[in-house]
């Protein structure tokens, strides 16, 4: 390339030289200097004499010299700057200041089935440009969008690297958990965008309000994410552009960070001792003592002479188990692309590679992307083009079981025996060297890590092919066919090291869908009037197939690759299954835009969708919208120095949704089989698949949005404010039928949910000087979600499987937390008897002073140290009907993002901070590591209550029951957690409501609000003169630190995924990336 460039320059010089020689006498030499608005000399600016091939390029000082005639015009052009024409006249020295292109106003936004100038938008659209995405340095596109657009909440859903992200735009408008925004990649609707490499993205436009999304009708209730990948035309349509080759890449190290505070050896010892302390007293303040047998079990008596646990503590023989399954890991990302255009063809080709190891040993992900795009203008009437994305990813997963068990292992479990071999069961009597006493029979996590393999391979092909015809002026017809194919294969192998039968299975899924869009566009500009219309007919078809096989004992070492050598096992039915499903959608849509003088803008759309998911007569839904905008700043009376832009928008639209139901939700089929036996005759059993509702139809959302876009002081300060109201009705909801149906469920159109919110974003250029630029952007969003109606007959529905997180109440948020309340610990302090029914029930006189323990014991049966459960109606009984309440919301009250960038000379520095505030989670992690019923497991370090007089340690118990070196708790320790002990009647001191999955789970309901510094970047861009010598246009190196700081009161791994299931949970990491952006 370097040689190429040199050759070119030489050729150019030669030609210029020739031109000079043959030039006419009236030509004169003109010299000058080109600089930018800040006064910096501009290198490489093309200076040509208009209408000739005569031209030159400015040197390192921004200077040029060129021969021209008096009547010529000189043209100065440079990418990203407005081209300037200057008449030569009598001048011989021309100094030019080039102005940066004002991107904000003429920015082109991708809307459904077309593009639009940002200034003409009537709806609420948030955009993220390619630089913003790339600089976050994340392998996931969704993560790189986090915090970029107000009102779009993106949250990592787990701590493992394939955990994925949850995205929610303007609150939860559906009751179904899995309603995600519609992703449209270069016009192709697809289920996710995880397969894309962030470096390949040109821009992302998020359509938020219903007037913008209504063009997607039934699929747009949760918002639309428009992804535009890089293409030949993205550099701007130019007749000829030389090929640009770019490389972006980084290499990173990721370090485990912010591990939860698990118990250390001493803390576990203390806790375990108490967990064997018992009492048979039935008083309010029982005294806890220890029986010999319990003491021997708790301290792991070896059966003959010694106690293993205290000895190990003394000798410091403890193990940090989490560190044995976690790792500090590597990541890398590379993307190389070439793009350019010739007379009538634009092209872009790219290839990307991304690899990152996870936080757990055995987790690894690598992805390849290939991308190609060609647009060609065949002649005056026809254009055609195609665009494709290929992605291949391979994910390896560490053993779920191993990871789960590793955290459960307490510090005393021994991973290796004295000879350094793995202990099969690190907590059993053999490993602990005791005759019978042990912690657990669980297998060594390291055994699982060696013994289990899981790999997922995915292939995605996504493309489109279009033909555009312009038969007459102002009319174009475009037909686009977009196939979308994905295939995934998952192989799993579990060996026999843990004594289980070796099993291997293979799952293959394949889905294919195609969309065929036929569009007619009409554009008419006449004087001040601008009119555009679009008509669409679209068909979409989707099908899915799945195949699964599982065998036992395949040839060792072949994993899932030679299942034929395994067997299905004696007496077992073969585990083979296959599945097929399909769905289809037909749509018509119309859109019309009208603007007058670019000041008054009106948009209207209507879309009608028919879905195969619904029964005859219920298939079709129609979704209209309308919006107006007024660019007040264009009015003469508003024109002034400081106001550069002011636009008011008002929109209303209706959208639909049917994603919450299955493809055959309106069919009842035979399901099964189960196997029964009469005597020894096998009897397969089949049953109706469920209860269906034939009159199911679309759920719809009507949204009103009012927005203001503003720009002040030449857009140094710009921003957007939106307020909206979103009413969703006829929600598709899988509701439980009365239990007398045997636990049946039914999908129904029930309920009505409202989201109301405000979004605010502000971008400021704080400093703009020659060598120093400082910009800040801030966004804020608050959303209030409220269930208005459930099913017309009752005002609440308790979800029987997930009562805490999935119950619904009129007047509360969809994602509420419904539970008992926890009001501290029953202590030995005195209290004033309140005047209520509960006191009366216990026979207490209001106003008198009594011991808390006596009070709570006689009314509720809670002894000292047990949790106090809130008796909301003070009737002396804790019961669900009266004492369970909505205690919070699982969605944040508000979220905000602040990011800022500073450029000083060649250095740049930027950071971003994201926060989610005021929300609660039900944490499976806390449930597991606070749980008092698990005596052999590791726990979080808890500050628990200990009553005075409790036996907290001893060196053994004699046969007559006397203690050797007993230690008693001298003064009550007022901890915030219940007193752990060995009394099974009180659920080991926790009571039945504090931490019991079946009933209530108070201890694991916590606030998870957080502040997170997402990244800090320092970059250096090499100076142009230096680069141009080696033929490089741009070279920047940077160091990026992601997630360096988190502030939260959450005690588990990372507040961002506090609500995840245990197997997806894991520690957060800090990543250090060294990256390069190169262009030539």
């Amino acid at each position: 390339m370097k040689i190429n460039k040199l050759t070119k320059q030489m050729t150019l010089t030669l030609i210029l030289g020739l031109v000079c020689m043959i030039s006419l006498a009236q030509e004169k030499m003109i010299t000058g200097k080109v600089s930018d608005a800040a006064g910096i000399s501009m290198i490489g600016v093309t200076v040509t004499v208009q209408g000739t091939t005569n031209g030159t390029i400015t040197d390192a000082d921004g200077k040029f010299s060129i021969k021209a005639q008096k009547e010529n015009k000189l043209q100065f052009s440079f990418i990203g700057f407005d081209t300037q024409l200057i008449e030569v006249g009598n001048q011989t020295n021309i100094n030019v200041t080039l102005k940066e292109q004002a991107m904000d106003i003429d920015e082109v936004v991708v809307v459904g089935y077309g593009t639009m100038k940002k200034s003409d938008l009537t709806g609420s659209v948030g955009s993220v440009g390619s630089e913003d995405l790339v600089q976050k340095g994340t392998p996931s596109l969704l993560e790189s969008m986090q915090g970029s657009v107000a009102g779009v909440s993106i949250t990592q859903s787990g701590g493992r690297n394939q955990a994925g992200f949850d995205i929610q735009i303007r609150g939860k408008s559906s009751i179904n958990a899995d309603v995600t925004p519609l992703y449209v990649v270069d016009g192709v609707i697809c289920g996710d965008i995880d397969f894309l490499n962030p470096q390949d993205i040109e821009r992302i436009d998020i359509l938020k309000d219903a007037s913008s999304t209504a063009i997607y009708g039934s699929r747009a209730t949760a918002g639309v994410v428009q992804v535009t990948t890089k293409s030949g035309s993205s550099a701007g349509k130019k007749a000829e552009a030389k090929p640009v080759v770019s490389y972006d890449g980084y290499y990173g190290l990721s370090q485990i960070a912010r591990m939860p505070d698990f118990m250390d050896g001493q803390e576990f010892y203390n806790f375990r001792f108490l967990q064997f302390a018992t009492t048979s007293e039935t008083t309010s303040q029982p005294v806890y003592r220890m029986l010999q047998a319990d003491n021997q079990q708790s301290m792991l008596y070896d059966g003959t002479s010694k106690y293993v646990l205290p000895e190990a503590l003394k000798n410091g023989e403890t193990t940090d188990w989490p560190s044995m399954v976690t790792q500090n890991s590597n990541e890398q990302n590379h993307y190389i692309a070439v793009s350019g255009s010739s007379q009538s063809v634009n092209y872009h080709f790219g290839a990307g590679f991304n690899q990152n190891e996870g936080t757990y040993v055995g987790d690894n992900e690598s992805k390849f992307n290939l991308k190609g795009s060609i647009d060609s203008e065949i002649n005056k009437y026809f254009s055609a083009g195609m665009n494709f994305n290929l992605a291949n990813s391979v994910n390896d997963y560490g053993s779920d079981e191993g990871i789960k068990v590793a955290y459960r292992m307490n510090p005393y479990n021994k991973p290796y025996d004295s000879e350094g071999n793995l202990n099969l069961k690190p907590g059993n009597f053999q490993s602990m060297g005791t005759a019978a006493n042990q912690f657990t029979d669980a297998y060594n996590p390291l055994v699982y890590l060696n013994d289990q393999e899981k790999e997922k391979k995915s292939y995605r092909i996504l493309g489109n092919l279009y033909l555009e015809v312009r038969p007459i002026k102002n009319v174009s017809i475009k037909s686009t066919f977009s196939p979308n194919y994905s295939h995934a294969r998952t192989g799993e192998y579990t060996g026999s090291a843990t004594g289980a039968t070796a099993t291997a299975n293979y799952t293959s899924t394949e889905s294919f869908d195609w969309t065929w869009d036929n569009q007619i566009n009409y554009n008419l500009t006449s004087g001040d009037h601008n009119f555009a219309a679009m008509g669409l007919y679209s068909m979409n078809s989707y099908n899915y197939e799945k195949y699964y096989i599982s065998v036992i004992n395949p040839t060792v070492g072949t994993l899932w690759n030679n299942l034929g050598t395994g067997s299905t096992g004696e007496g077992e039915k073969p585990t083979v299954s296959s599945e097929y499903s399909e769905s289809s959608l037909t749509s018509y849509a119309l859109r019309a835009n009208y603007s007058y003088k670019g000041k008054y803008i009106v948009t209207a759309t209507v879309r009608s969708d028919g879905s195969s998911k619904f029964s005859e007569g219920h298939k079709w839904g129609t979704f209209p919208s309308a919006a107006i905008a007024w660019r007040a700043s264009e009015e003469e009376f508003m024109k002034n120095e400081w106001l550069s832009n002011l636009k008011l928008r008002l929109s209303y639209g209706v959208t639909g949704n049917n994603s919450g139901i299955g493809n055959y939700a309106t069919h009842t089929t035979g399901a099964g089989p189960n196997y029964y036996a009469f005597g020894s005759t096998i009897a397969p059993a089949y049953y109706p698949s469920g209860i269906v509702n034939g009159s199911l139809s679309w759920e719809t959302t009507a949204e009103t949005d009012f927005g203001i876009d503003f720009g002040l002081f030449a857009n140094r300060v710009s921003g957007t404010i939106d307020i909206y109201n979103k009413d969703s009705k006829d929600l598709l909801y899988i509701r439980s039928l009365p239990l007398v149906s045997g636990g049946g469920t039914l999908t129904d159109n029930i309920g009505n949910v409202r989201n109301r919110g405000i979004e605010f974003s502000l971008n400021t250029v704080n400093i703009k000087k020659k060598n120093l630029t400082w910009e800040t952007s801030f966004s804020f969003a608050a959303n209030k979600n409220e269930v208005l109606e459930i099913n017309g007959t009752s005002d609440f529905i308790i979800n029987s499987d997930n009562p805490i997180t999935k119950s619904l109440f009129v007047g509360e948020a969809v994602n509420n937390i419904y539970s008992y309340g926890w009001n501290g610990i029953v202590s030995d302090k005195t209290m004033t008897v309140p005047d209520n029914n509960a006191s009366a029930k216990g026979g207490f006189t209001p106003g008198t002073q009594v011991k808390e323990a006596d009070y709570y014991y006689s009314i509720y049966g809670w002894t000292e140290g047990m949790p106090i459960i809130e008796d909301s109606n003070n009737d002396g009984v804790i019961d669900a009907d009266n004492d369970k309440k909505v205690r919070g919301n699982q969605d944040p009250a508000w979220t905000a993002n602040i990011s800022s960038s500073l450029t000083y000379k060649n250095w740049d520095f930027s950071f971003s901070i994201y926060t989610k505030q005021n929300y609660k989670v039900l944490s499976s992690f806390l449930y597991e590591y606070y749980n008092y019923a698990y005596r052999g497991y590791q726990h979080l370090n808890m500050d628990y209550y200990i009553p005075a007089g409790t036996l907290v340690n001893c060196g053994g118990i004699n046969d007559d029951g006397t203690y050797i070196n007993p230690v008693y708790q001298e003064q009550t320790h007022y901890g915030e957690f219940p007193f752990p002990n060995g009394n099974s009647v009180t659920n080991y001191g926790a009571g039945t409501l504090w931490l019991d999955k079946g009933n209530s789970n108070l201890a694991s309901i916590v606030d998870a609000s957080y502040w997170k510094v997402k990244y800090i970047i320092v970059g250096y861009t090499f100076p142009k003169p230096m680069l141009s010598r080696i033929g490089v246009e741009k070279l920047r190196v940077y160091l990026n630190v992601t997630n360096p700081f988190v502030i939260s009161s959450y005690k588990g791994f990372d507040p961002e995924w506090a609500g995840t299931a245990t197997k997806n949970d894991g520690p957060s990491t800090i990543n250090y990336q060294l990256g390069v952006n190169l262009k030539f």
């Binding site: 039935t282 029986l291 047998a293 079990q297 019978a436 029979d441 038969p471 017809i477 037909s479 289980a500 036929n518 078809s541 004696e570 007496g571 077992e572 097929y580 499903s581 399909e582 289809s584 959608l585 879905s611 493809n663 055959y664 069919h667 009842t668 089929t669 035979g670 399901a671 189960n674 196997y675 029964y676 036996a677 005597g679 020894s680 005759t681 009897a683 059993a685 089949y686 049953y687 109706p688 509702n693 039928l737 009365p738 239990l739 007398v740 149906s741 045997g742 636990g743 529905i797 308790i798 029987s800 009562p803 009984v877 019961d879 669900a880 009907d881 019923a933 099974s984 079946g998 009933n999």
Partner: protein, 613 residues
């Protein structure tokens, strides 16, 4: 011209799309056919009937609901379910909710059979299957009535969004079940008996006897004082019907086989098993998880499966009270409990716990002993004699060493041996702390499946049939019914039939019955005649899932728990916030929320929020 052609062509394409639109919007389900199609043929319909039987298994998913909170079983480590044992349960309780849901799942599966029968082609056995479905439904309603009282009687298959299903009264509930079973027991199509697991007239009759008896207690007696278990009999018609019906069943099934033989793993589907939920290894999709865990439920932990032991969950230990009910000579102690467990070296199945079934007698005589659990009445001299006789077997060196002899008495005598067969220690510990020790309380062996695979040993690896209606139990139903109907001699007759078969001495009168009271170390007579029946039921039916329902039915629930359940300290322990005793299980909170026919006013006493002011 060119333009026009293009426009026409494109329009044509669009229109083609339009025309095929309705076809295009019909999703083809290639992997299933509609339920109506599938169940309209004989073959398909039979699979639907199988499902109704299959669903019955779920009724016994949880053993604690039938056993916890009684005199016979006590949790120690993980306490089966502390809320059931200590009566702190609320309408939120998952176990209760699952029971309720599963029982109605059976009802709905049976109703599905009746619903699709009308749509199915005619074939000769169809009417028979309908009657079988009605029997299954009656069984579920019987358990519902015993656990919850009057419940919604639903006779139609639920396949709509309807939510209104109010509770029927207790009288309506009993009347409905009795009418159904009366009809079925006189059926002209049901077979007289069936040993393959299908409903029969005998099964209908046996169940009818039980329903009559329960109706008698609930409708023809009144409680005098809960703490004392005293009651007044106000009528006899149900009891008389119960006695008569039970008599007919008993007359047809003499108790001829020994108690050990009755429960032998090789003697499934014997004459005494009137109706049983069927299990079979060959029908299981996954041998390691497809069975059930009845064999793992009762007794204390015996040691790890890797040490050749049967896995025992130890959350439902048998109480000392139960052990003290067995007298010398009563064969049921040895036939119910695994009193000798052999040591384990390496061979799963023929060593360790399972050696008892799978090793030859001559091998057993040589095999090292891990545990020997003599009954409470075995004297020290007899134990000494045992030691002498088995001296060569008490020198255990295998996985479960040292050898132990543990007498199930209060206190427990606990002898540990050295590897040379001499005594290492000989101590006494109180029964309750013994429950926390490995192998101190023998496991119930009645449900043992000697073919249990090692992989499935801790889970659902048992494939023994689950006997729901058992002949000797119906004898005791007859005894109870005659007693309540005022015919003591007939009652004694049935009681003695059961005792005679077990080798226990015949009783001459209810008043003359005595049992050993371990607390006072004396033989004492029973408070009431019903205690005699309940004692006999305890001996005969250890591990069978009747006890809680027996105590509730006979109005002894409070008294027995007060006296023998250490988690119940006073009547208050069993009293709800409304001041009422929890005689029934609560209607699940979810049902009150979802079923518009039931609101919180309809909740069972003891679980309503309103105080009794």
């Amino acid at each position: 011209m060119k333009k026009s052609i293009i426009i026409i062509a494109l329009s044509a394409i669009c229109l083609t799309g339009l025309n095929s639109c309705e076809d295009f919007l019909t999703a083809d389900n290639k992997s299933a056919i509609t339920a109506e199609e599938q169940f309209s043929t004989q073959a398909g319909f039979e699979t639907l009937v199988n499902q109704a039987y299959f669903k019955m298994r779920s009724i016994y998913d949880n053993s604690a609901i039938y056993c916890s909170g009684t005199d016979m079983y006590a949790g120690v480590r993980s306490a089966g379910d502390p809320t059931l044992e200590g009566y702190s349960l609320t309408s939120e309780n998952e176990t209760v909710k699952n029971l309720y849901t599963n029982l109605y799942g059976v009802v709905n599966a049976a109703n599905a059979v009746l619903f699709y029968a009308d749509k199915c082609e005619d074939y000769s056995g169809k009417e028979l299957r309908k009657e079988e479905a009605r029997f299954i439904r009656s069984y579920a309603y019987y358990i519902l009535s015993q656990q919850f009282g009057g419940i919604p009687i639903i006779k139609e298959y639920i396949n709509s969004a309807e939510t209104y299903y109010p509770r029927n009264t207790l009288v309506e509930t009993y009347t409905y079940i009795i009418d159904e079973l009366k009809e079925l027991s006189k059926s002209s199509i049901l077979s007289e008996t069936d040993k393959t697991g299908r409903a029969s007239k005998q099964a209908a009759k046996a169940l009818l006897a039980k329903v009559y008896l329960a109706a008698g207690w609930d409708l023809e007696t009144t409680l005098s004082r809960a703490e004392n278990g005293t009651y007044t009999v106000t009528g006899k018609s149900y009891f008389e019907n119960a006695a008569q019906t039970a008599k007919e069943v008993c007359d047809a099934i003499p108790l001829t086989m020994s108690f050990e033989e009755k429960w032998s793993p090789n003697n499934e589907q014997n004459d005494e098993a009137i109706f049983a939920i069927q299990w079979d290894r060959s029908s299981s999709q996954d041998v390691s998880t497809g069975g059930h865990s009845q064999q793992n439920t009762f007794g204390t932990y015996l040691g790890a499966v890797t040490m050749g032991m049967k896995y025992v969950a130890s959350d439902l230990n048998v109480t000392s009270k139960t052990f003290y009910l067995f007298e010398k000579g009563d064969q049921r102690y040895d036939a119910t409990f695994m009193t000798t467990v052999y040591n384990f070296k390496s061979e799963w199945g023929t060593e360790g716990y399972w050696a008892y079934y799978n090793a030859s007698a001559s091998d057993l005589a040589k095999m090292q002993i891990a545990f020997y659990n003599p009954a409470w009445y075995v004297t020290n001299d007899e134990i000494a004699a045992y030691q002498t006789a088995h001296a060569s077997q008490l020198n255990s060196t295998g996985a479960m060493s040292p050898a132990q002899i543990i007498r199930t008495s209060e206190p427990v005598r606990w002898i540990l041996y050295k590897t040379d067969g001499t005594v290492s220690s000989d101590t006494e510990i109180d029964y309750r702390s013994a429950l926390t020790k490995v192998g101190t309380i023998p496991a119930v062996k009645k449900f043992d499946d000697p073919q249990t695979s090692k992989e499935a040993a801790t889970g659902n690896g048992c494939y023994r049939d689950f006997v729901l209606l058992n002949a000797s139990e119906i004898y005791l139903i007859a005894a109870e019914a005659y007693l309540m109907a005022g015919n003591e001699s007939a009652a004694l007759g049935y009681l003695n039939s059961v005792r005679n078969r077990a080798g226990a001495a015949a009783l001459t009168s209810f008043a003359g019955y005595t049992r050993f009271d371990p607390e006072d170390k004396v033989y004492a007579s029973a408070d009431q005649a019903i205690d005699v029946i309940l004692d006999e039921r305890a001996r005969e039916l250890v591990g069978e899932y009747y006890r809680w329902m027996d105590l509730r039915r006979t109005r002894q629930l409070v008294k027995y728990n007060l006296r023998w359940n250490s988690s119940v300290t006073s009547v208050n322990s069993m009293t709800g916030g409304d001041g009422n005793i929890k005689w029934y299980r609560p209607i699940p909170a979810d049902e009150i929320g979802l079923n518009t026919g039931i609101d919180s006013k309809d909740q069972n006493p003891g679980y309503t929020a309103d105080t009794a002011e």
